[in-house]
């Protein structure tokens, strides 16, 4: 509420200065995406998945609470659900490492994907992380390969895969759960190669330039849609999903249901090849007209 009032006030003031406005809007979205009252994966599971059975553990060495997953029914179909879990209270956030997954979390995702593939269940993922956990144990436990192998596991699935970005989509840690047939993104979610603060610290040599970096990175849904990075923007209630979580969940539901219905028309092999082709086309380059 406060945020949107503030937004309205600023909208009027900054009408003529488009640059600053874009910077402001982008930064505002970054703030909403990080709002601690924003519904998390757990809330969307509660709203969208019936008969959810959580399945814990990577079957190797740990149960990373930053990634939750399990089985349940979405719109009458049995599905596998996997998502980053941030938590809201400080206790929850600590338990879930603020949604920053360790290798164990990504490996949990992998083994759930394998379960989905074996029993031909569609996969739904929810992406909401500042990034992979940057710790010594995580690094030495194979963070890099865990992310890579999770992406490869998603790429290889022949079942329908729908990813929904619901908050922060931070770097490889987010992408690891988003190699999907359809990538949906809530209006106020972000998706970026690096955090605005991290980018500012490197390129501006000062993290204070985070709003500038955010603007430059174009991490919002409306900016990413034309680039093909995402396939659909899911509108949120005025002020953001936390203002009316039920309404937000209904819109997420409808977008996922539509995507699944489309994907179920395809043959398993077609789905896999189409997913590969989707990612193959991502990127912008020139020189095609030149002699090879």
């Amino acid at each position: 509420m406060n945020l949107s009032e503030e937004a309205e006030r600023l909208q009027g003031l900054l009408k003529s200065r488009r640059h600053e406005r874009r910077r402001h809007d982008t930064w505002l979205t970054v703030q909403i995406a990080r709002n601690k009252d924003r519904p998390r994966t757990r809330e969307y599971i509660e709203q969208l998945i019936e008969g959810f059975e959580e399945l814990k553990g990577d079957r190797l060495r740990a149960d990373d609470r930053a990634v939750i997953g399990g089985l349940g029914w979405f719109d009458g179909r049995a599905v596998v659900v996997v998502g980053h879990q941030k938590g809201r209270t400080l206790d929850e956030q600590t338990e879930h490492s603020f949604g920053m997954a360790r290798p164990e979390g990504y490996r949990k995702a992998q083994r759930l994907f394998a379960l989905a593939e074996r029993h031909r269940l569609a996969v739904l993922t929810f992406v909401d992380t500042p990034g992979a956990y940057p710790g010594v144990d995580a690094e030495e436990g194979g963070q890099a390969r865990a992310i890579a192998e999770t992406m490869l596991a998603m790429a290889r699935l022949s079942v329908p895969v729908v990813a929904t970005l619901i908050g922060e989509g931070g770097s490889g840690g987010a992408l690891a759960l988003a190699v999907a047939d359809r990538v949906l993104m809530q209006e106020n979610a972000t998706y970026s190669v690096i955090s605005p603060e991290g980018c500012a610290a490197i390129l501006w040599r000062d993290a204070e330039f985070a709003p500038q970096a955010a603007e430059a990175l174009r991490p919002t849904a409306s900016q990413l849609l034309p680039l093909g990075v995402i396939d659909r923007v899911i509108e949120e209630p005025r002020g953001g999903a936390h203002v009316n979580p039920e309404a937000a969940a209904r819109r997420v539901h409808d977008a996922i249901a539509e995507a699944l219905t489309e994907l179920e028309q395809l043959m398993p092999r077609e789905r896999r090849l189409a997913r590969r082709e989707r990612f193959r086309q991502l990127g912008v380059w020139g020189g095609e007209g030149l002699l090879p």
């Binding site: 990034g131 992979a132 956990y133 940057p134 710790g135 010594v136 995580a138 690094e139 030495e140 194979g142 963070q143 890099a144 390969r145 992310i147 890579a148 192998e149 992406m151 490869l152 790429a155 290889r156 770097s171 490889g172 992408l175 988003a178 190699v179 998706y191 970026s192 190669v193 690096i194 991290g198 980018c199 490197i202 390129l203 501006w204 500038q212 970096a213 430059a216 990175l217 174009r218 991490p219 990413l224 680039l227 990075v229 997913r275 590969r276 990612f279 193959r280 991502l282 990127g283 912008v284 380059w285 020139g286 020189g287 095609e288 030149l290 002699l291 090879p292």
Partner: protein
């Protein structure tokens, strides 16, 4: 080399530039260091090398042909930090003599035809943007198509910030490229050279059939600075080092540069299921079983021959220089 010594003796010409090892501080003739594959003759310190020097070291002489150098980096985000992105690219191109941070094309290593893709840390920190991703995809696609192994030498700080989420997507894209290779059962060998971090090590590189690292190479996803800032953890002294990564099970072997070509050649022969290097008879007979392989070999030779006639596609040599890296020996 001899010439240098004579000049030094005469004492009239300016003293030759000396190369000082950043690890052991010993001084060496740059030409000697270069001859030694840019490895310190005293302590074995592996200096960073550019893509062209790497290709000269790895590929059989005259076999590498650069492909896809016509692909141009664009600025899809109109990215401006302290400097516009296109200017940064132009500077990198001028300094390195490369068009992008990855140089790729067909080659042969130890007699085995392959596709070679080499990153250059000197080009914007070897960062991966759309063109790097697209080149890697094409390298993998050609490899899969022609049944030639892919050899990638990675040296990169990660994804390129200036292309935003599109750079991030190159992680997924190059991962899908590995999927293409796997589907075709085509071998993929990755060499991790210093440094190999961020989005590159967390995508195609780590998915290779065989991942080897050069001695002393730094390999990690999140670096010491990020770890220190976020979790304030104490880092082990050798955090991210190749040798530590070997003990941690993340690389198959740490291979000194002097052995690298032979090892890679051996890996390729082994993964292709071919015969022993000295068992030529056997190899030939196994080859004759596969007419497809024979056809490919012929097609490849034809392509390489054609390339030699095309000035835009000449086999390359020379070395790129990584800014910020220790002084490069003169060629």
């Amino acid at each position: 080399m001899t010439v240098t010594v004579e000049i030094a003796r005469r004492g009239t010409a300016p003293a030759p530039r000396r190369w000082v090892c950043p690890k052991c501080a010993s001084e060496h003739d740059p030409a000697v260091v270069k001859e030694n594959l840019s490895v310190c003759p005293a302590c074995g310190y592996h200096q960073r090398i550019g893509a062209r020097e790497r290709i000269v070291q790895l590929a059989d002489e005259g076999t590498f042909v650069e492909y896809w150098s016509h692909l141009r980096t664009l600025d899809p985000l109109d990215f401006v930090d302290l400097e516009p992105y296109p200017e940064r690219v132009r500077e990198a191109q001028g300094a390195s003599g490369l068009t992008e941070a990855l140089v790729a094309g067909p080659a042969a290593i130890g007699g085995t035809p392959c596709v070679l893709a080499v990153m250059d840390f000197g080009f914007m920190g070897g960062s991966m943007g759309s063109v790097v991703g697209e080149k890697l995809w094409r390298a993998a696609a050609v490899a899969a198509d022609e049944g030639r192994p892919l050899v990638a030498v990675a040296s990169s700080g990660g994804a390129r910030m200036q292309e935003g989420a599109l750079s991030l997507m190159q992680m997924a894209k190059t991962t899908c490229a590995v999927d293409v290779l796997n589907d075709a059962r085509v071998p993929f060998v990755a060499v991790m050279a210093d440094p190999c971090t961020g989005g590159v090590v967390a995508s195609f590189v780590s998915l290779a059939d065989i991942c080897v690292a050069e001695p002393g190479a730094l390999l990690y996803f999140s670096g010491p600075r990020v770890i220190a800032q976020t979790t304030r953890e104490q880092l082990p002294d050798d955090f991210g080092g190749a040798e530590r990564n070997l003990a941690l099970g993340h690389v198959d072997a740490v291979v000194p540069r002097a052995e690298l070509k032979d090892k890679v050649a051996n890996y390729l022969r082994l993964l292709k299921g071919g015969g022993q290097p000295d068992g030529l008879e056997r190899r030939r007979s196994s080859r004759s079983r596969s007419s497809r392989t024979r056809r490919l070999a012929r097609a490849t030779s034809a392509r390489v021959a054609a390339a030699f006639k095309n000035p835009g596609r000449e086999p390359v040599g020379g070395s790129g220089t990584a800014p910020g890296s220790p002084e490069e020996p003169a060629p």
